[in-house]
């Protein structure tokens, strides 16, 4: 078994809210691993905690009002990220673990050239001279497929389109050849043809540089095309975790089932005649008031008494792989006869 590159155990990140509505338990006991060179997809809707999880890994959570609870454990290449000194942590950020965000316009500094911003990481982490760093920046622009890199290196973000800015962000992130790239909704704000370009680019770079990618998204199509394994999050917890093919072929958690049924699909026949998508009734509960028992039970078509009373742990779904390959947080695993929807 390969040693995981990143190991997250029982991560809990809570936020104190202003009006005394209590604590928002945005991430409430999340565990997963990222193996070297693989793409892990983290899927969920808004409010599930996926972005807070990714920010917690690099300790980018603003300390009030948020805090990572003691008992959380994040290990990168054997080192506990949560106990590192600030200086040591900075040496990892941008260097060994890099992150790209959803909105390239607001993540890039409008008053610096694109070249300066890419070079910055090289200067800080690799102590390159400004000239060497600029050469490096041009190389990176070429790597991410920006035409005329010698010219573009002196352009400002506002002179570029959304797709190009995202490529610049990727260049910035990869300049130090990190082992892990955390990509938080990298294509959500882009047009679909540009999204295809960026996803293809990420695939190619991953193969060339041998890095692992943690791909956070709400788009099941993106995950199906790019991820090796998938983690599904709901209400601050991991509810299902499986290799991609297994997850889509045999979704076991009712939430995953519901999500897959809610998505209108290009490969389905035109639905004009019957006209209904499955949908999931109700809405995501507030992080300050997770339901008792299983957090999904108010919206679950199969829920019974046990679900209302007792919160299920992550159970092994078996399925022929090594133990732990496919895990599900649902009592249906212990009582499969209950998998009949209520009338």
């Amino acid at each position: 078994m390969t040693e995981p590159l990143l190991r997250v155990r029982d991560l809990k990140t809570y936020f104190v809210t202003e009006h005394g509505s209590g604590t928002a338990r945005a991430v409430d006991g999340v565990s997963f691993e990222v193996l070297p060179g693989e793409t892990l997809g983290i899927v969920g809707e808004s409010g599930c905690g996926k972005t807070v999880t990714s920010l917690s890994i690099l300790r980018l959570i603003p300390e009030p009002p948020g805090h990572i609870r003691p008992g959380s454990f994040i290990e990168f290449e054997g080192r506990n990220l949560l106990t590192l000194e600030p200086r040591e942590l900075r040496a990892i950020r941008g260097n060994q673990i890099a992150m790209i965000f959803q909105e390239p316009m607001t993540s890039l500094n409008p008053v610096f050239t694109v070249g300066d911003q890419i070079a910055e990481a090289a200067i800080v982490h690799q102590r390159l001279s400004r000239r060497a760093a600029r050469t490096r920046a041009i190389e990176m622009l070429k790597l991410v497929g920006i035409p005329d890199p010698e010219e573009r290196v002196d352009h400002y973000p506002h002179q570029m389109s959304g797709g190009m800015r995202q490529r610049v962000m990727i260049a910035m992130a990869l300049v130090c050849h990190p082992k892990l790239l955390i990509a938080d909704e990298p294509t959500t704000a882009l047009d679909v043809t540009i999204q295809a370009q960026i996803l293809e680019l990420l695939d190619r770079l991953q193969a060339e540089l041998g890095m692992a990618v943690m791909l956070i998204t709400h788009d099941l199509g993106v995950v199906a095309g790019s991820a090796d394994r998938v983690v599904v999050m709901y209400a601050g917890q991991v509810v299902e975790q499986a290799p991609t093919a297994a997850l889509f072929a045999r979704p076991l958690h009712p939430y995953t089932e519901g999500l897959l049924a809610s998505v209108p699909r290009l490969d389905a026949p035109p639905a004009r005649e019957h006209g209904r998508l499955h949908g999931i009734p109700g809405q995501v509960p507030a992080a300050t008031a997770w339901p008792d028992g299983c957090r999904f039970h108010p919206r679950c078509p199969y829920a019974w008494d046990r679900c209302r009373a007792e919160a299920p742990p992550l159970l092994d779904a078996g399925g022929g792989g090594d133990p732990g390959t496919h895990t599900v947080r649902c009592w249906l695993l212990t009582d499969p006869r209950r998998r009949t929807p209520h009338p």
Binding site: S161, G163, S262, P264, D267, P270
Partner: protein, 329 residues
């Protein structure tokens, strides 16, 4: 054949670009946001209008309603020419056509309660007052799947899906025949999106509504549209009944667009066409065919660079603006 409820002919909207000389000179470049767009929608049907950012689809929606004044063209709703109307006739016609916006956060007035938002159109058109209005408001809320108790809430107390339902209720309050839906589910989570799409389908059946569904998500449009029109740089490049468009697209842009959409099935082995280059800006459209710089068609030639292709019928009911539409990708 039933006459169309909505008939758009030659719609044009240009926006002047920046002016040189501190605002006093001639405009620099003209943004041809909508460049000679025509289509018709039969009553009770849905036309999906798709395209990427900058293609002009939102402008089309707003221009039809005269929220933006068109520069040229004719828009007929149930026989009445919208463009030529004066102010008071236009106000009366507004009852027949309404719009639902994309942003559930921005499209509701933060200082009004739901009740006030729904009562306003009733007051403007003198449809109901007092207790009568209260009844209608409660009925509207129920119709869109909201508890009538939400009437006293403010927008910021509601979730995205709930706000969008309020927006739909507001549009329905004047009993329109025609609804422009401008990316109505794009800002919503997937599970909420499904709920709202189902609601829109139910409403269409129950109230016999006609929809212009503007979206960038082709999978969503496939689910709800009878006909689809694809826009690129202000022009319609393909228009066809939905089954024909999705199974046999005739324009290379449509084909590329369809292949770029990620499908939630890891086993789907698709020949992905990845276009090179960016979505061009409508201020500087390329000469000839607007798509030619990015077009992957193997037969692309000088004609594509110089001669803009006309939107012509290449199969029954299916139109495409491509010199090689008979030999699709």
């Amino acid at each position: 054949m039933t006459p169309a409820l909505v008939d758009v002919r030659g719609l044009v909207k240009h926006f002047p670009g920046e002016r040189a000389w501190l605002g006093l000179g001639r405009p620099r470049a003209v943004v041809r946001a909508v460049d000679d767009v025509s289509f018709a929608i039969a009553p009770g049907q849905t036309l999906g209008l798709v395209g990427e950012s900058g293609c002009g689809k939102s402008t089309v929606g707003r221009t039809i309603l005269r929220l933006i004044e068109p520069d040229a063209g004719r828009v007929t709703i149930d026989g009445q020419d919208v463009v030529a109307l004066g102010a008071s006739a236009l106000r009366a016609l507004r009852r027949r056509m309404q719009i639902v916006f994309q942003d559930p956060y921005g499209s509701l007035n933060p200082r009004m309660t739901v009740r006030q938002m729904l009562a306003e159109p009733l007051a403007i058109h003198r449809l109901a007052r007092g207790a009568d209005a209260e009844r209608r408001i409660a009925a509207l809320l129920e119709e869109v799947g909201l508890d009538p108790g939400f009437a006293q809430s403010y927008a910021h107390e509601l979730s995205g899906g709930q706000r969008q339902r309020v927006g739909i209720a507001r549009a329905l309050s004047v009993e329109p025949q025609f609804l422009v839906l401008d990316e109505p589910v794009s800002a919503l989570d997937v599970s909420v999106q499904a709920q709202v799409l189902n609601l829109l389908a139910d409403l269409q059946q129950r109230r016999r509504l006609t929809y212009l569904f503007i979206a960038h998500d082709l999978a969503v449009v496939k689910h709800i549209a009878d006909h689809v029109a694809v826009m690129y740089l202000g022009k319609i490049v393909e228009r066809a009944p939905a089954p024909a468009l999705y199974s046999g697209p005739r324009h290379p842009y449509t084909t590329s667009l369809l292949s770029a959409v990620p499908v939630p099935d890891p086993k789907a082995q698709r020949q992905r066409i990845v276009l090179s280059g960016d979505v061009p800006s409508p201020a500087h459209p390329p000469p000839g065919c607007p798509f030619h710089p990015r077009c992957p068609h193997p037969k692309k030639d000088t004609r594509c660079r110089t001669e803009p292709p006309a939107l012509r019928e290449v199969a029954p009911g299916q139109l495409a603006a491509c010199h090689f539409a008979e030999q699709p990708l």
